[in-house]
């Protein structure tokens, strides 16, 4: 009985976990469920003729994984690689890709109720990647909807990379 009330609270306002990373001075979060692993920056082999948002490919234990240029995807300026640069391997809609980030920070726990809507003013397609915002540790986290990161057409394009 008491059990039920605890469960009810949780399911009404579930706690979700987000892996946070830094990119171009802001902190973003992605759903932990989709994060497979985090790699240090390794050689990314460029693929000539690949779409602009593709940085190249890496070899992940015998598998070829495409790495996305996250800054390009988000419409941000290019950045420098540092010791903290990471490739986050994510799985979304059955695809495994890597996303390049400036650094990975901690896993953060957020309740659904803490996530606020973000505005979308502008005509850029990239705004649709933003799922919402949330205050955490004195800063505003921008939560990313990974499933929207690439369109079906773009996924198909990637297959050919």
């Amino acid at each position: 009985m008491a059990n039920n009330s605890a469960q009810k609270t949780t399911s009404d306002d579930p706690v979700l976990q987000w892996v946070t990373f830094r990119l171009a001075g802001e902190t973003y979060g992605i759903n932990v469920m989709q994060v497979q692993e985090v790699l240090r920056y390794t050689e990314i082999a460029p693929v000539p003729g690949a779409p602009g948002y593709v940085l190249g490919i890496i070899n992940l234990r015998g598998n070829v994984v495409t790495v996305i240029d996250t800054r390009n995807r988000f419409g941000l300026e290019s950045g420098e690689m540092t010791d903290n640069t990471r490739i986050v391997i994510i799985e979304t809609e059955g695809h495994v890709i890597g996303v390049l980030v400036d650094s990975v920070a901690e896993v953060v726990y957020l309740r659904q109720s803490e996530v606020e809507n973000a505005p979308n003013v502008g005509n850029d397609e990239s705004a649709k990647f933003i799922q919402g915002v949330c205050h955490k540790n004195d800063e505003l986290l921008i939560l990313i909807e990974l499933n929207k990161l690439l369109t079906d057409t773009e996924w198909a394009e990637l297959e050919e990379v």
Binding site: M1, E106, V108, S113, P119, G122, D124, E125, S126
Partner: protein, 375 residues
């Protein structure tokens, strides 16, 4: 066995093998006590809402709207325990309650619930009243501190503002300086002590509450070619944006905030959108005012120091400077009831040769532009 019986058996089993959390380090004598504590806790679980009691007893961060403690783990930190909220961590309270007779226990429980209910109501009222008052005073203090040349002290400033608000029959004027007050005049009378400023404030709120206020953002222009909010004398703030002087109607504003280094930009937005700034009331969407209204004049560097939010909206305009408020006669404005261009320009302030921004209209435009707007 029923589910409850199974769970009870499990609980007993765990306690037998591991001891109960409070008694692990206890003496032999104390070890005899755990069964009583366990039993009481189970009783408590079955009784009517005790959340109120456990909140005040333990001081936990659970409130009746379900907010709770959030963990933020990091490499260095050892995670803290999350104690399930439905079990009181204060077994001492439970033991002493057990000693009460059944009738007294029931009476006590009712008493606790009633007190807690009253306590919550009273504090909420005082809080919202104080919050409104605080907001009003803060904003005005901001404005007065920006105008060093003014001699007026705070009290008379408040009185002056309030006086202007009370004059005239357009009660919508009163609404600018505070968001909708949740309190009625009677309740006001019960709270805080009286001072001059507070008396004036109370009067203003009374006027507000007792008349039908016209929503300020009704973008209504009357047949006389003037907006609803400019039928009588009204106050304007003079602002400086990118070297240009602008005027905004005071009553259509919300709050003034100092601009933060910590504005969080969002990618994929129009270039006049600076990002989100956190304020005590929530995230304000900050507009690069110069880029928004005069992109062709934009010098591509700004010196924004303040954000002025639009009344009732979470949109705010970034500005370089704010000057003293001035009372204006509607006759002193060349109005633009018909606009083919520059929808944000309400008119021209003749004496100051500066543009009067149609803040309600800007609010409307900004809201419309937000594809994620929740209606």
């Amino acid at each position: 066995m029923s589910n409850q019986q199974v769970d009870d058996a499990l609980s007993d089993y765990f306690t037998d093998l591991l001891g109960s959390a409070e008694t692990l380090a206890d003496t032999e004598e104390d070890k005899a006590k755990p069964p009583i504590v366990e039993k009481i806790e189970r009783d408590k679980l079955e009784s009517t809402p005790i959340k109120a009691l456990s909140d005040s007893v333990t001081g936990d961060a659970v409130t009746s709207n379900g907010k709770s403690i959030i963990h933020t783990p990091s490499i260095a930190d050892k995670p803290k325990s999350d104690i399930p909220k439905y079990t009181s961590t204060s077994s001492k309270v439970e033991v002493s309650r057990e000693r009460l007779s059944p009738e007294n226990k029931a009476v006590e429980e009712t008493a606790i619930k009633t007190v807690h209910k009253n306590f919550t109501e009273t504090t909420t009222e005082t809080d919202s009243y104080n919050a409104h008052k605080g907001r009003l005073e803060r904003m005005l203090r901001q404005v007065t501190s920006l105008t060093a040349s003014q001699d007026l002290d705070d009290n008379s400033k408040v009185a002056a503002q309030v006086k202007i608000s009370v004059e005239g029959d357009v009660s919508s004027l009163v609404k600018i300086t505070q968001p909708v007050p949740a309190v009625t005049p009677q309740k006001l009378a019960q709270t805080s002590e009286v001072s001059n400023a507070e008396v004036s404030l109370k009067e203003a709120l009374k006027v507000e509450a007792s008349t039908d206020a016209v929503p300020i953002l009704a973008n209504q222009w009357n047949d006389n070619g003037r907006p609803e909010w400019a039928q009588e004398s009204f106050d304007i703030l003079l602002l400086e944006v990118n070297g240009l002087q602008l005027a905004v109607p005071l009553m259509t504003l919300g709050q003034i905030h100092e601009i933060d280094d910590e504005i969080t930009p969002l990618f994929g937005q129009s270039d006049w959108f600076m990002g989100l700034q956190k304020t005590p009331d929530g995230n304000v969407k900050v507009v690069d005012t110069a880029k928004f209204i005069m992109p062709e004049r934009y010098r591509n560097q700004h010196n924004y120091k303040y954000i002025i939010s639009i009344h009732d909206l979470y949109w705010g305009l970034a500005v370089d400077n704010i000057k003293q408020p001035i009372t204006i006669d509607p006759e002193a404005i060349r109005w633009r009831p018909k606009r083919d261009s520059r929808p944000w320009m309400a008119g021209m302030v003749k004496d100051h040769m500066c543009v009067l921004l149609d803040i309600p209209k800007m609010g409307e435009i900004l809201q419309k532009k937000d594809k994620n707007r929740v209606e």
